[in-house]
Symmetry: C2
């Protein structure tokens, strides 16, 4: 038998804390039904992504509920960005543990609320359970015009490879977080924030489709090399990457100083940047400069695709315009 106090807690969690996140959209049925609904025009695709986040794997409890919730939602929105979709709604799977208190839930909800407001989305459903460790699941919903989305398998031979923003901030931000230092200087704080509050490139994804500039993109979640790998395998191409062209923030440059040359391989192998890698036809280079100005973001050409000579795809890394390292990619991943 379900005990009244269990119901009360569950009820409170849902009606006091999660229901306000529905923004009163009728699609959520006030979280009073087991189901929600979404409508769509015949000319639209609904774009979906689902992710799981596990304590001690994807986050630490000590990160705090606000940062955990923010990153949860932002990294899922980045999946929508990589498809060029406009975000609409999300569903939340929330596990509470024996020591989940009201302040944790409040901070968690505040984190979600701030992201919702920024990206104009709302909660439409989900589930709450009890568990020994925290884990969360998000399903995000966005839309694109029909047949107008970015995928990993549509890069062409000769395409230029671009990346948004800076690469490596999150890699160093994670390191800073692990050191649990107090009184960080501005540069350190910047990198830490980049780790916890990635910037899903929603507008970039949308504009790439709208302006017919790209059909192929992926977000950098596992690492520049690893995610580029997916494009190579799925589009059957070899990527040629110029290490010095990889965009590094001035904050990270200041911190690394001369050590930066030794860090390039780490920087392109680490994840959590949530920038977009996308590919364009060389004739559209000028349009990309205009787009960067229009969106006020950095868009950097880091290399180009050539055909695949053998059955293995490749990433060729160049340093000072010299071939520096060949990374063979097979269907299982890459080998040095």
């Amino acid at each position: 038998m379900i005990k009244p106090d269990k119901i009360m807690q569950e009820f409170d969690l849902i009606t006091k804390f999660f229901k306000p996140l529905t923004n009163k959209t009728i699609n959520s049925h006030n979280l009073e039904n087991d189901t929600a609904f979404i409508d769509l025009k015949q000319s639209e695709h609904l774009i979906l992504s689902k992710d799981l986040f596990v304590e001690d794997v994807h986050f630490l409890k000590s990160d705090g509920a606000y940062k955990i919730a923010s990153k949860l939602l932002l990294s899922n929105l980045s999946d929508l960005a990589s498809s060029g979709a406009e975000p609409l709604y999300y569903m939340l799977g929330f596990s509470k543990t024996n020591d989940t208190d009201i302040s944790f839930v409040k901070e968690f909800v505040k984190g979600l609320r701030d992201i919702q407001n920024k990206y104009n989305i709302s909660l439409i459903g989900g589930d709450t359970v009890k568990s020994t460790k925290y884990f969360f699941s998000i399903t995000v919903f966005g839309k694109t015009k029909k047949h107008k989305f970015l995928t990993r398998n549509q890069a062409q031979k000769g395409d230029l490879i671009y990346v948004s923003g800076d690469i490596g901030d999150a890699y160093f931000g994670l390191k800073i977080n692990q050191q649990k230092k107090l009184n960080l200087n501005k540069d350190y704080q910047y990198l830490l924030d980049r780790y916890f509050f990635p910037n899903p490139r929603i507008n970039l994804g949308k504009e790439l489709i709208k302006k017919n500039l790209s059909k192929c993109a992926i977000d950098v979640s596992d690492g520049l090399l690893s995610d580029l790998n997916h494009i190579c395998v799925n589009s059957n191409l070899t990527a040629n990457i110029f290490l010095e062209q990889i965009p590094i923030s001035k904050q990270l440059k200041r911190i690394l100083g001369k050590k930066i040359d030794n860090e390039y391989l780490n920087i392109i192998s680490a994840g959590d940047d949530y920038e977009l890698i996308f590919t364009i036809n060389p004739k559209d280079q000028k349009k990309i400069i205009n787009l960067a100005n229009f969106l006020n973001i950095k868009l950097t050409n880091i290399g180009y695709f050539t055909g695949c000579n053998d059955k293995l795809s490749l990433v060729n890394l160049f340093n000072n315009n010299q071939e520096f390292k060949k990374i063979k990619i097979n269907k299982y991943g890459y080998e040095h």
Copy 2:
């Protein structure tokens, strides 16, 4: 840096085991993108539900992967049934632990496959993570005609309360499972199967809408009383329930024998039946008899709704036509 062997395992899990579950629908992009997509007619709603399942809370590892996966998907389909939706797709969040071996994954996939085939659905996306304990998340997608779905808040004063199938089998099946007995007789095996393989009433939900017989339904997941409670609160009504009319399977009757009178309160308080409670106008009683014949399922009238006299909703339980117990329901749940 992501190590090749980690990628290989992840890759195998997805391409060898989960990709075949996509049934080659293009909506899944072969699980090669972070996103999937769904199309919908302008005249349709997409109906969504998301659930979390946690080891030692919702299932035991010793239940075996086939049963765990089956129940996971079936209970989610029951949410779609309670809305009257036709199932389309699902997304899977899968956590593997250090001791997840190929045989576990194979059995898990076989469980999903069998349910997919029965309900003509396919996998379109998801996520895999590592965790210390198993937990899974399912998001299911179905469709209804626009504005044609069943909800908890549309019951009317005077409506008759119906329930599909039998109540209590899962309650006793859970008990049998906990006892871990070998060599079960047929009745015990039947109840155990009812616990692990619930029967989401998809066709019933669809027909109730199609034939304009009901606007209000819920599936029995927490227990007949608890789920009826949701209708009472959301529709602002009092439910009058006749205990003897609650449908009990002949298997459970044989096992309980004369003890059945003492078990009614347990039977209506236990969950996991995944039958539908739905409400109809008394004038449509004959049509429900026809529908039961048409669908070849048991549909039983167990009571009726009256208005709410005070601010608290009520469930009045009757035994031998005598009022037997009043159960007050407030917004936090029910009290005896």
